[in-house]
């Protein structure tokens, strides 16, 4: 149990750093120096010290949503394997993780609607439009891995893939990974689906929903989204490419596992920064094309598991 709590605390601790890292990479590609990688920590600390302003028209949902989001993320962080494959399996398997994110999305959308501002409603409706295609994609692509390894427990998926060498590597794995990667971009409000760096009315999705939050609530919202990004990266690293993850609990294995997962997250951050620097945000009406492509990819992954 201790190791899971340790993993969870580590994920929460490095989440702002990963966001800072992506910003630093993007600044590098744009030829700027950019803010320090520790800037997200300073932002969060400042927000936590500030008072929050809440509209008198809001209901309890508006106040509860940040805490629900943070709780969902923390629970998911307990279950996603990070540097060891032992995660809190008794809590549930991959379906629980996917629907914890579903709950987070639901409350995010509700709180966007709750304040009654037009931007919030717009953001919520867009988020739901995107998630209609993203959620089945994520489920299908993780299911592909569950089919390959014969278990739905996240820790065991990465364990059996890591220990069996290249035997379980199939074309389905790459299809599922491609689908999952596109969904990660969509779920975490990254380019080409959303632009995390702007507050432009016409384009924003995620930022529109948290527009009304301030102070502590805003800090929790931001922190939970940062953690969600790290969790998705950890899922990508440990489900599709789990090599290097610690199977048994010993100092050496954990050291290697920690190093491996940090390198993988570093690479994913670099990949996201490259994509965000080289692509423009897509028009909202062209988004279904991309998302259907990723959905079909994940469907193909499942189908090709049976065909091939």
């Amino acid at each position: 149990m201790l190791i899971e709590v340790l993993q969870m605390l580590l994920i929460l601790a490095i989440a702002p750093l990963v966001t800072g890292l992506i910003r630093k990479f993007k600044a590098f590609f744009q030829g700027r120096q950019g803010p320090s990688m520790l800037q997200p920590y300073r932002d969060l600390a400042k927000l936590f010290r500030k008072d929050s302003v809440v509209s008198k028209d809001t209901s309890w949902i508006f106040m509860a949503a940040p805490y629900v989001c943070m709780t969902a993320v923390i629970t998911a962080a307990l279950m996603v394997p990070f540097f060891t494959s032992t995660s809190a399996n008794f809590l549930g398997d991959l379906i629980v993780v996917v629907y914890l994110f579903g709950m987070m999305r639901f409350f995010l959308a509700l709180s966007g609607l709750d304040a009654g501002s037009s931007f919030g409603g717009m953001g919520s409706s867009r988020e739901m439009t995107v998630s209609v295609l993203v959620e089945p994609t994520i489920l299908l692509s993780i299911f592909t891995m569950a089919l390959i390894t014969g278990t739905t427990v996240l820790g065991q998926i990465s364990e059996s893939l890591a220990t069996s060498g290249l035997d379980l590597v199939r074309p389905a794995l790459f299809l599922a990974f491609a689908a999952f990667f596109i969904s990660t971009l969509a779920e975490n409000a990254r380019v080409p689906v959303d632009n995390p760096a702007t507050h432009l009315e016409l384009t924003m999705i995620h930022e529109a929903m948290i527009l009304e939050h301030s102070g502590k609530q805003l800090a929790l919202m931001e922190w939970s989204s940062m953690t969600k990004l790290v969790l998705y990266m950890a899922l990508m690293a440990n489900i599709f490419f789990p090599w290097g993850i610690a199977i048994e609990i010993s100092a050496v294995a954990i050291g290697i596992g920690l190093l491996a997962v940090l390198i993988k997250i570093f690479l994913f951050a670099l990949a996201i920064a490259v994509i965000e620097s080289s692509m423009a945000k897509m028009r909202l009406f062209r988004l279904p094309n991309l998302l259907t492509v990723s959905f079909t990819l994940s469907l193909l992954a499942v189908v090709s598991f049976y065909i091939l």
Binding site: R170, P171, A172, F174, L175, P288, N289, L291, T292, V293, F295, T296, L297, L299, L300, V303, S304, Y306, I307, L308
Partner: protein, 219 residues
């Protein structure tokens, strides 16, 4: 006789072929259509080469080389050259929107799997798995022909169908006799030349290669 490496390779090439099928459906530009078709033909050539290595049949090597040379290099270039020359618009103009097309094609792939499943158990060929994919390729090629508006995109649909048939031939029988394969290659090449010349003529007569406008009479 089959070692797992070549089986893996065959599977990987087959997956690439299936993937390019879907990317062909998803792509909205003429240029990427020909490029994707070239990639698909390249994967097909690779698959044929692996089968040739595995079955030690020299004639499949020749077919693999021909397939790569003709379908991955000559035909795509020829189509690119023509589209540039008659200056068609770069967009594909599908009759069915892309998300809908993709879902239909996913359904077609499932159908192909469902239809071929009883046969696959009977087969002994190492490439027996590819049968479902070849069926899916044929169906998706037909769908491309039906649902795209321009004469040239319809030609690409036909080429995809041909790729599917070729894959089926390799998957089931380790390819047809040499002379038949050569005949098919020649047919395809001549077919593409005729279609492209035809598209050229359509363009000159109607000022567009939109196949739907062919219905209109013109004196």
């Amino acid at each position: 006789m089959q070692d797992s490496l070549s089986l893996d390779l065959v599977d990987t090439f087959a997956a690439i072929i299936l993937l390019t099928d879907f990317m062909l459906v998803a792509s909205g530009r003429m240029r990427s259509l020909t490029r994707l078709f070239a990639i698909q033909s390249l994967a097909l050539g690779g698959l044929a080469a692996v089968v040739a290595f595995e079955t030690k049949a020299e004639n499949i090597y020749i077919i693999a080389v021909l397939s790569v040379a003709l379908k991955a290099i000559v035909i795509p270039r020829f189509i690119d050259y023509t589209t540039e020359k008659i200056q068609v618009k770069k967009e594909v103009e599908p009759l069915i929107k892309i998300p809908g097309s993709l879902l239909i094609c996913a359904a077609l792939a499932l159908l192909a799997y469902y239809v071929t499943e009883p046969i696959m158990d009977l087969g002994t060929a190492i490439t027996g798995n590819c049968l479902a994919i070849s069926f899916a390729t044929v169906l998706i090629g037909l769908f491309l022909m039906v649902s795209r508006r321009k004469a040239i995109t319809e030609a690409i649909g036909l080429l995809v169908v041909e790729n599917g048939v070729f894959l089926a031939a390799i998957a089931m029988t380790y390819s047809m006799p040499m002379i038949v394969e050569l005949g098919v290659f020649f047919d395809v090449f001549v077919g593409v030349v005729i279609m492209v010349v035809f598209a050229f003529r359509i363009n000159r007569t109607f000022d567009s290669i939109d196949a739907t406008s062919l219905r209109g009479l013109k004196d």
